[in-house]
Amino acid sequence: MRAPPVSSAEIVVEVQKLEKRFGSFIAVAGISFSVQRGEIFGFLGPNGAGKSTTIRMLCGLLAPSAGSGRVAGFDIVRDAEKIKTRIGYMSQKFSLYDELTVEENIDFYSGIYRLSKAKKIERKEWVLAMAGLRDHRHSLTSELSGGWKQRLALGCAVLHEPPILFLDEPTSGVDPISRRQFWDLIYELSSQGVTVFITTHYMEESEYCDRLGVIYRGELIALGSPRELKARHLQEAVIEIECDRPNEAMELLEHLPEIKEAALFGKGLHAVARGADAAPAVQAIREALAGAGFRAPRIESITPTLEDVFVSLIEARDRADAPQTEVQR
């Protein structure tokens, strides 16, 4: 989607066998990865997969149960406070002060980050311009819309110009236009050399990332650029089907020998064939649907999206886990 960042292969985030347990629950199960300077690194996974837990460990907000990691050259266990001077963090929940005005929130965080007087004014104007809040500087933060709040939160997190930015599902609950604007800001920061570590469960957002880690049930199940993930994990052809009663159609298709898996996708279905050649699968689907009396105006082979990859990865993982759960039972 965009050119890979032109930078030396300097590693700014690195974790090894990072693990977090809450009692007997394993939230993050020994993951290892690294992020290069200037990269936009996406952490993709369903809710509860361990995304937030990982990001909190990287920011020094949670102590890992096992494993190690370094952020901006500092150990995440021993030097958590040093890390905090070099990162910006935006938590999942909006966490500025509702009863303060826009300007007061910015001033508060410039005080916390000890910006000089000149810098403070310069950065405040930058944040207000960036977030489009110039005319609302005296508004109470509680009165802002979701998109504005989120841009203000981003502004407050980067007041001190941190080299690494951690964003935990920054765009959840925000309208698509605001989400798009937010990504423009992320690109802008990234072009200035800021490393962005972002978690999301929006598929189209993960396409914007330079590199992705897919996390599921606390485990890192895939790692690579969006293109690599598609090439590596989904060699089979993907067929898009537009039909009525997609729920029932999905049941039918899942039992065809030519089809590996089928999933609801928008108003229709996506089916993964058993091989790279789509033709036999398309033929089989057409016959099966017609035979069962479904109306299917469109059945065609498409380029797989990341969502197809994601669904396929997770189904593969579930299939691999299934026998174990039965044995445990």
Partner: protein, 377 residues
């Protein structure tokens, strides 16, 4: 510790206070209300005790005794009764607190220089008041006896003897023994402690509940900056509360303020810092506003009310409880406020109490800083 960051926190906290006029109103209004109600209602003085008389003697001697009761400001004559049943009725209906029964042979026995019994029936349903009420006839009886004896001696010898012991008591600091004079300074201390801990008990718990704490602990802010920055604006409110209380004590309740006003406020400031820090400590451990405010209320109000010696003398408590009072900061503060108000003493006398308050403030603030963890979970 960085002063810029401390100041940023203090300013933010001050804005929170300003934007929440209802809480600010409560913070200033509750102390006034409490001081008013306690100052007027909580009086330990017993006077104008209503009493009735069943005078079966009906002689000058018995009338003299009744007249002495009627003349005392501690008694309020409610009339004469003619039998026990009527007397009982007066006490049952609480129209009288004391019934004086003078038997028919009262004057005859007096004249014969024999002991002349009279009966005082007291409503003992409130034992404290009853004990005080029982003390009053004692004084009247003593002077009555003295006069009778003097008259007898004079009659037999023609000389007026002088009594052997003439004790002349003088009450210092509170000559009229107005209980209000020591209750108002005491209740001031109780109120300030309660309000101070309540104010700060919400601050850190609120940040945890709203999720703003997560953002804050991702910054390089230090626990000491956070705790002291939050403490500062509430110290301002606390001192304002104290000023209101002192003004009310002096101008509304006319409690004499004999010591140094500056010293009084310095002592108040030290006490306030310790108690505000106690609120923050509770807040940072509880992480929930409701829990924190309840703990703050119980941990300040109860000891301050019961164990500070503000209303109940510490010397009368069982030894084990007396030992506990030594770790109640309100005990020292109440002692100092009373000392400054009534006895007019200063640091030369009160330094041990002040030292304890300073140590308490340091220890609790230190604990609050220590327990303010910059980690989730």
């Amino acid at each position: 510790m960085n002063l810029r960051r401390l100041w940023a926190i203090a300013r933010k906290e001050a804005i929170h206070i300003r934007r929440d006029p209802r809480s600010l109103g409560l913070a200033l209004g509750i102390p006034m209300l409490m001081l008013l109600s306690f100052g007027y209602a909580l009086t330990l003085d017993v006077d104008q005790v209503p009493f009735v008389v069943w005078d079966q003697s009906g002689t000058p001697q018995s009338r003299d005794l009744v007249a002495r009761f009627r003349a005392s400001r501690y008694f309020d004559f409610r009339g004469a009764v003619e039998n026990y049943r009527a007397l009982e009725h007066e006490i049952d209906t609480r129209d009288a607190y004391l019934g004086l029964v003078i038997p028919p042979e009262f004057a005859r026995r007096l004249d014969a220089s024999r002991a002349a019994p009279a009966q005082a029936v007291v409503d003992g349903s409130d034992s404290n008041t009853a004990a005080i009420v029982l003390g009053y006839p004692q004084g009247i009886t003593t002077t009555f006896n003295q006069d009778v004896m003097l008259a007898q001696v004079r009659r037999s010898t023609g000389l007026a003897p002088s009594p052997a012991l003439d004790l002349r008591p003088r009450v210092w600091f509170n000559p009229d023994l107005e209980s209000r004079n020591f209750i108002v300074p005491g209740i001031m201390a109780v109120i300030m402690g309660l309000i101070a801990a309540l104010l700060t008990s919400l601050t850190i718990a609120r940040e945890w509940e709203r999720g703003t704490m997560e953002q804050l602990i991702s910054t390089p802010v230090r626990p000491a900056e956070l705790v002291l920055g939050k403490l500062l604006p509430y110290l301002g409110i606390g001192m304002l509360d104290m000023a209101i209380a002192v003004l009310m004590a002096v101008f509304l309740f006319h409690v004499p303020l004999r010591g140094s006003v500056t010293f009084l406020f310095a002592v108040g400031g030290v006490f306030m810092i310790g108690t505000l820090a106690q609120g923050i400590l509770i807040s940072t451990v509880a992480r929930q506003q409701l829990l924190a405010s309840q703990v703050a209320m119980i941990s300040t109000f109860l000891p301050a009310f019961l164990l500070s010696g503000f209303a109940f003398a510490i010397g009368n408590m069982p030894v084990a409880i007396q030992v506990i009072t030594y770790i109640v900061p309100a005990r020292y503060f109440v002692a100092m406020v009373k000392g400054i108000f009534l006895r007019g003493v200063g640091v030369a006398t009160l330094w041990p109490d002040l030292l304890f308050l300073v140590i308490f403030a340091l220890v609790v603030a230190g604990a609050a800083i220590r327990f303010t963890r910059k980690r989730l979970g």
